[in-house]
Symmetry: C2
Subunit: 466 residues, 2 copies
């Protein structure tokens, strides 16, 4: 039943709101106007706001297992701790993908980009189970299997010292084969599942891996994803590795394009920003993890002024430590007011909504089908209950949603015209069962010690001048 | 019924957790240990975490009426818009105080410092109605009636220009009389209501007003509150007004003390920080409003290293735009990781909890009675449901609470041993009725234009070099 009509619902116009009916036929928006004929089920939109679904444009779902417990550390050390305790269990991947989808949907997201950590030796199984979870929930999934071909210590600059790194356990060619197989098996954009090529970033990948990903991207028309210059250490490392900035290098090897989305982008200079603009690459801003890991404040206002497309991600739940997209949108918007005295450049709530919806669609090369309430586009949208206490008293609905701290405000959500949340409850999965599974399979704990952190911390502090 | 026993509840020890029973007798914590005898009602603490109540140590309750709608502007212009549309109605003050109390309690706060905007000509009535609301809800209230004796434009530096400001509508003496009367009528710390002296800040107050407040504070043993150096403009203004920093001036006139809490403290230099430490003043950090208004990032890690007591506030809901204390604690903790490369100084979740509870109590000179789970202290505490999806999977409970994005996690809350929330529901007021009142008395709106902003914006931009 992918046809329905939402009646008397508030939607945003250019700089105001209007009450309309919205007709959906066969999963697509068929009409938006006052007093439309009811096609399919009639849904009461009174005192509700309809917005296009947001994109959780960068996350790592299995990090959910370690949220709340990760030490207060910068990325390079934090990663070492993360990997020391990473879940290596397909069932856990399934449950954390469900959890990621649920929290994303409950905060207005209808699409998720999962930069998915693969269990060694079970790479395709990991991808398959995450996809199964996303399909069961019904969220639109962009699976970006996280790949690298250098070992973890290679991600820390050497500085004055000479460092030897163990070779990565799997060859570059074998890794690329896995991705190609995943594409053949799982890349079904029309069914709501896309595969992206997604080397983790310049810090742990050779040029061969990047070039192999570019070839796959071209051959199968895949979007490209990567971390980029999240930390100061990575900025240093790029100079050591390439003798130029990471952005210059990625442009040179041809990774940047209008199908490329880049998570973080904290340490770019003005020339780098011009390159992102010129290549029409998309920046995925993950404000919470950038703060949590002390990575820095990404120059988002500069990106916007340079015409670079920007959207938001939650990043993995171990560095956030949530998957609430409204929180990421709020902090990712107001954070930048302290970086430019001139308030004329600050991000308004309406701009934030556009970045989170259309910005996400652009970054995934689907702006012709998603990202706005436009006749002919897919019905991926969310209905917010404006009578919720956290959205009262009534003022500007989008202002309340973006700048407030909304809780339990998603009344309904649809992806591709299929209703996933109805009156605040999931129609597709049993969330209470998920909750019980997450409870049963975990233990409260406080004391754990990462051996790898202990091994690499001295070198890290020396190189970073601490 | 102020005696009860919480059984099998998780509490934090120095660096771990332990399961205990907590006995409360006559509103005070009588014992904390395993297997205690049940006194009064038995309360099941299983799978729950008990923490001391947090302090919402700086807010302006009536701003709730304008949350979501305020333009994206820096403080000085934002204030002009705020006052152009401020509610001037006692009933509205009542409802927004109820709303402030409810949101504070639902996010772990059991005390609120309301820097209360007074309706001109109805000053005592404003105070009385806010107190009535707080008493009805049952939250511990610190009422800091917001006073000034200079008009709004005096708060913007003159720069090269000569500015004339209208005199304030009420004399300094008359203002001080109102405060003294409020103290006599309403200051009842033993009943959970305290009055503070609370000049808005150096930007709108003469020395006479500060000195009058010091005298009242000394005579009636009142705590002192004020905004301090929230913006760069105020830093400039202090130099114009005093020829020294605002902190140096406030120290000289004797306003700083161990009973003094100062909201914001964004633009202090190292010498100023030393003065705060020496005078044992408390900094109230309001991270959300500092970002929203582009005020800057308060040097919180420096305060902590200098031994300055720091606690958290939501600030008024028009600059936040919520009253969720857990959000303020999270952002107020992780924000500072980007200000110091050395992660050894970053604020851990356990430190955040201590700042929000004991830090708040210290700033209000009640650390002997509140702010920790200590035998002999008042039973102001909150029971969190650790089976909530937003706190799963189980890892470190305090890490999940502080770094996650908890929703609906407060199972129970007590103030002075009186239960205010039970199983997520208020026992004292009807929140659904409040919700309906807030709905009925407001309208969705998008377009409003502040005349005062239009009048002062050119001067503001000139002085700030924009």
């Amino acid at each position: 039943m992918l046809s329905f009509t939402i009646q008397n619902v508030l939607i945003a116009t250019n700089d105001d709101y209007v009450t309309v009916d919205v007709q959906v036929v066969d999963g697509k928006i068929a009409a938006i106007a006052a007093n439309l004929e009811v096609i399919g089920t009639a849904i009461d939109g009174k005192h509700k706001l309809l917005l296009p679904g947001f994109f959780n444009a960068h996350t790592h779902s299995s990090e959910m297992w370690q949220r709340g417990i990760m030490s207060v550390l910068p990325l390079e050390l934090w990663l070492a701790e993360l990997y020391d305790f990473a879940p290596l269990d397909i069932e856990q991947v399934y449950l954390s993908a469900l959890g990621t989808a649920v929290e994303t949907l409950l905060s207005g997201g209808t699409s998720v980009v999962d930069h998915l950590v693969l269990i060694p030796g079970q790479e395709l199984e990991t991808i398959a189970i995450a996809i199964r979870a996303y399909k069961e929930v019904g969220i639109r999934a962009f699976i970006a299997p996280l790949i690298q071909d250098q070992s973890l210590t290679a991600g820390i600059p050497s500085g004055e010292s000479t460092q030897n790194h163990e070779p990565y356990f799997r060859s570059t060619a074998a890794t690329l084969e896995i991705i190609e197989e995943a594409v053949k098996k799982f890349h079904r954009p029309d069914e709501g599942v896309s595969i992206l090529v997604a080397p983790t970033g310049i810090q742990l990948c050779t040029d061969d891996l990047f070039v192999g990903c570019i070839e796959l991207s071209d051959r199968y028309n895949l979007c490209r994803h990567s971390h980029l210059l999240e930390t100061r250490a990575q900025e240093k490392l790029a100079q050591e590795k390439y003798g130029c900035t990471a952005v210059e290098h990625l442009q040179r090897i041809g990774y940047l394009s209008d199908k490329t989305s880049l998570a973080h982008c904290v340490w770019l200079n003005d020339a780098d920003i011009a390159i992102l603009s010129e290549t029409q690459s998309t920046v995925v801003h993950n404000p919470l993890s950038n703060l949590r890991l002390g990575s820095g404040i990404a120059p988002i206002l500069k990106y916007r002024q340079a015409g670079v497309n920007v959207t938001f991600g939650c990043d993995g739940a171990s560095s956030n430590d949530s998957q609430d997209l409204l929180e990421a949108i709020k902090i990712g918007s107001i954070l930048h007011n302290v970086t430019d005295l001139d308030y004329q450049y600050w991000i308004t709530p309406r701009k934030s909504v556009e970045m989170a919806s259309l910005g996400g669609a652009k970054g995934l090369n689907v702006a012709d089908q998603l990202g706005s309430l436009t006749v002919g586009k897919q019905a991926d949208f969310v209905l917010y209950d404006l009578t919720n206490l956290s959205l009262l008293p009534r003022t500007d609905p989008i202002g309340l949603l973006v700048l407030g701290r909304p809780s339990n405000v998603v009344n309904s959500a649809w992806v591709n015209g299929k209703q996933i949340i109805n009156n605040g409850k999931f129609t597709t999965i049993n969330v209470d069962e998920l909750r019980q599974e997450l409870f049963t399979r975990s233990q409260w704990e406080t004391k754990r010690k990462s051996e790898t952190v202990a091994q690499i911390e001295t070198h890290y502090r020396t190189v970073m001048g601490l």
